[in-house]
Amino acid sequence: MIKEIESSKNQLFQKNVRNIMRAYEIELNFRANLSGQKWLSLQARIKYKNMKILVCISKAPDTTSRIAFTDNNTKFDENGVQYIVNPYDEWYALVKGIELKEALGGNVTTITVGGADNEPIIRKALAIGADDAVRVDLETGDSFVVASQIAAYAKDQGFDLILCGKETINYNSSLVGGMVAEMLNMPYLSLATSLTMEGSTAIVEREVQGGMEVLEVTGPFVLSAAKGLAEQRIPNMRGIMAARTKPLNVIAAVSVDQTAEIVSYTLPAPKGACKYVDADHPEELIRLLHEDAKVI
């Protein structure tokens, strides 16, 4: 019995290998005859398969970090700060990219704009399952500069999908994805909570004012990831080992002027002490909210 199972498994495997080889052959023939954009649009019409995916990754201070500033409140105080992959980039954008690759085949590249101190978080993204990484060697500028670097890199690479988190937890601007989309003249599907591929069409659910919208899009697009798009993955030992040898290409930045600059930081005024109200007399709370805080 076991032998029979083994032999049919073997046959299936060989058949699959033949199918895959055949698919590659067809693809290579197409690629040989068509160039750049033409191939892309044809590929979009055929099917999303062997997807070429770019995920934008940035570093952010761990959520529990103490937020303080130095140099006369002009610089973030990095003293004792642990950096993590920006959670929206890691949990939702990166994992979604990896899920798509696992389902449809393809390649996941991450891109980070920043100095060498970003390499630990890039290795983490590789450990989770990205295939290779690009670091644009530039001490981070404003969102416009970051988006310009990503667009300059992605422009000739023929990505089917560019993913980013919905915002970073340090600047909360929600700008880079939309800017990259505009620079590359691609659709931008912001705040997506679900992405599925149906043949040549991508179905996206996203948060819009007052509700959820379901959209369909064909051809390459940029998507910003919100909660729900994917489930966080913890890298395993094999992933961590493999990440050490995956390619991390450092490329030079293109020259772009900053359009905005942070001139100083301020911490909010400390909260006054909590005023406690007796649990048996919540009417006192109502009185305070009305007369003292004047919010009801």
Partner: protein, 315 residues
């Protein structure tokens, strides 16, 4: 000179976030406030009453962010506006970055102050998920500002706006809308726009115990919200989840019932003007961020609080 405001229409009227953006633009004192909107518009969409002098209207219903950005940029050029204002809401987040690129404009996304033009052009924004503020200097001639919802309030001017048809070339799009599903049911207040929010967490012990939470909310005309664990185990819908990974809100009054106050939750609510915490654990970290606190069992406190709120409302 004029300021262009992108406004979002719902049932023919401008959304609350759009009216806040108009109020902000009129307080800038930087010339006429012109609104751009698309879709179905009734009258002036209620925009004249909040500072709009003119409404540019494109009747096309479903436009993708790229097409809207194109029209907004054309409208800014036509009206000679150097500044375009958005609400930093789901619509603004989709369109504003594209407009900034198209206009070669610097952008402040998530503004919480009016521009300070005493030295350059500086706008304050919220950073580190509400734990700090940054003053951002824009270096470009043209500027885009998107304002955090619920941070400026509405400024009624009681004017009327003239409505002009705006037929620009929006271009084509490879995006099609399949369906739209509103999150708020009839009568309920959309969470991001609510002035008062009643939020509850695991301390409620089960979805069947949400009755008093909803009752307290309905007395105040408030929206309901919840903490992450409650949304994750499916006691409440995901769109109610406030916090770092859910949505960030800035109501005037936030009730946190049976929520311990993890730092990730606080990141979503620390912009609230007044925070009330009800928790039976006196050591709950949320009390440190609270303005008013009640240490007590929610199941005992809530019925009394509801009675007190009812009697307050009936007076």
């Amino acid at each position: 000179m004029s300021v262009l405001v992108y406004t979002d229409l719902h049932d023919g009227k401008a959304s609350k976030g759009s009216l806040e953006a108009l109020s902000y633009a009129s307080k800038m004192n930087a010339g006429d406030v012109v609104a751009f909107c698309h879709g179905t518009l009734n009258g002036d969409g209620g925009m004249g009453a909040f500072g709009a002098a003119k409404v540019l209207h494109n009747a096309t219903e479903n436009l993708d962010a790229g097409q809207i950005a194109k029209l907004v940029t054309d409208a800014a050029a036509q009206t000679g506006a150097d500044v375009v204002v958005f609400s930093h809401d789901n619509s603004g987040k989709a369109v504003a970055p594209r407009v900034a690129v198209r206009m070669n404009a610097g952008i402040v996304a998530g503004a919480i102050s009016l521009p300070d033009t005493s030295a350059g052009y500086v706008v304050r924004k919220s950073v580190f998920s509400g734990k700090a503020m940054a003053d951002v200097s824009l270096k470009t001639g043209k500027k885009v500002i998107s304002i955090v919802p619920n941070s400026f309030g509405l400024h009624r001017t009681d004017g009327t706006a003239s409505v002009e048809t705006f037929n620009g070339d929006a271009g084509s799009s490879s995006v099609k809308v399949r369906s739209f599903k509103p999150t708020s049911t009839d009568g309920a207040v959309p969470l991001p726009e609510a002035d008062i929010v009643v939020s509850a967490g695991r301390g409620m012990k089960g979805p069947e115990n949400w009755g008093p939470v909803e009752e307290l909310a309905s007395i105040f005309g408030a929206a309901t919200a919840c903490s992450r664990p409650v949304a994750d185990i499916g006691w409440r819908p995901h769109h109610e989840h406030v916090g770092q990974t859910g949505i960030a809100i800035r109501p005037t009054l936030y009730f946190a019932i049976g929520i311990s106050g993890a730092i990730q939750h606080l990141a979503g609510v620390n912009g609230s003007k007044v925070i009330v915490v009800i928790n039976k654990d006196p050591e709950a970290p949320f009390f440190k961020a609270a303005d008013y606190g009640i240490v007590g069992d929610a199941f005992e406190v809530l019925p009394k609080l509801i009675e007190a709120a009812k009697s307050f409302k009936s007076h």
